[in-house]
Symmetry: C2
């Protein structure tokens, strides 16, 4: 996550208007499923990579975690996190996740929500996370789904009247940089295949415990566009154990 | 696989013209990757669900398997299997895989190549396979990729000049029956999400060892249309352990 769009004024303002920014975890469609994959936090040392506003850090604190380190590349995000989701057990640190380093076994839990698709190289990061976790530790993350990132634009394919026809997939096996449009702004994301996400974990010693493509939850189905989210997978949630 | 298109004369003739039918494993683009996921067969009891022409049975026999049972719903397929891939260690049986039953721990290895997307209910089958395997046994299978089965037609989306634009995804979370066109004939297949394929294994006690979306191999890249297979994932290979 070396590129940092979140400190750009316009982008940051638009991000602040998203339901997940205003309502926190309740505004995030994938939260009910992600929550099920999280371990018991009691007494645990937790690292949140790309913590944003700090909602997950606060959740871990409220559920008994002993110590939480939330890291993000964006100063502005962390300002909001310190304001909205402060807790004596949480420390927020402004650093690109690629530049972090810790002693072996420093954490019991590593989480990351919708941040890894900003990271160019996944394997070195997974190797480090494996090192930072203690044996038996949990690694839980969400990313944009490879189906969602493959084409690049992250938009539906429309007919001439502007009706959605389907979602386009292309260049699936060509991993790497994509110029996506997110909140009307150009953002660089990295497409990876499902094979890369899962086998990188397996090849580096993790045991996969769950793989979930969250459906839009029933209670959010009235929100504009949410019903269309039954037509394409947008996110991928994975839990694994060291 | 209760519907059996393979005993239909026209369909069967067309199937026989496919590279994978004429050239066996060498003609199957996914074989180099699938081969890597297969366990050591020496002295093993092997079950092949939806064995078709019996290429994988023969491979297991040639690599030391003690006993191989190949099952398929198609009489015609098994006639060819008995002709092309006979071996004293292989027994071919004509039965829908949903109707099979064996004692607990009857097999060391269960394999299945491109057959489960014809099966309506995946979970009961996975439960049975788990039962049939001995502890530590291997389960390796390939299926059509959820991206490939979601829309239904299994065809590219073209412009008015007939050029490929992209591959369409739709109705991803609506699992179930799809009317696909395969070899120019209408075939019923069942779409399942990736979540269903993987979590059904995990929820029923399996440990996932590999998940691979095979790319078209370099040596087949000159075959018509093969280069386009870099643009969409067509198959999903999974290996798991009891």
């Amino acid at each position: 996550m070396k590129e940092n769009r979140y400190d750009d004024e316009v982008f940051f303002a638009k991000y602040g208007e998203m339901l997940r920014s205003k309502n926190g975890l309740k505004g995030a469609g994938e939260w009910p499923e992600l929550k099920k994959l999280l371990p018991d936090f009691h007494g645990k040392r937790v690292l949140d990579l790309g913590c944003g506003y700090g909602w997950h850090c606060k959740y871990a604190a409220a559920h008994g975690a002993a110590y939480i380190l939330g890291t993000d590349i964006s100063h502005k995000m962390l300002e909001i996190a310190r304001e909205k989701n402060a807790d004596e057990k949480i420390k927020y640190e402004c650093k690109a996740m690629e530049d972090l380093d810790f002693e072996e076994g420093s954490f019991d839990v590593v989480i990351s929500s919708l941040a890894f698709h900003y990271v160019k190289d996944f394997a070195p990061l997974v190797q480090k996370i494996y090192k930072w976790l203690k044996k038996g530790g949990d690694f839980v993350f969400s990313v944009e789904h490879p189906v969602f990132t493959a084409y690049g634009s992250q938009d539906w394919y429309y007919d001439s009247q502007g009706n959605i026809l389907h979602f386009p997939v292309d260049n699936y096996y060509y991993e790497g940089k994509r110029d996506a449009i997110f909140l009307g702004e150009r953002v660089t994301k990295y497409h990876r295949t499902l094979t890369t996400y899962l086998n990188t974990l397996l090849d580096n010693g993790f045991t996969i415990t769950h793989v979930v493509e969250p459906k839009p939850p029933q209670e959010l189905m009235d929100i504009e566009g949410m019903k269309d989210e039954m037509r394409r997978p947008m996110m991928l949630l994975v839990s694994a154990k060291k």
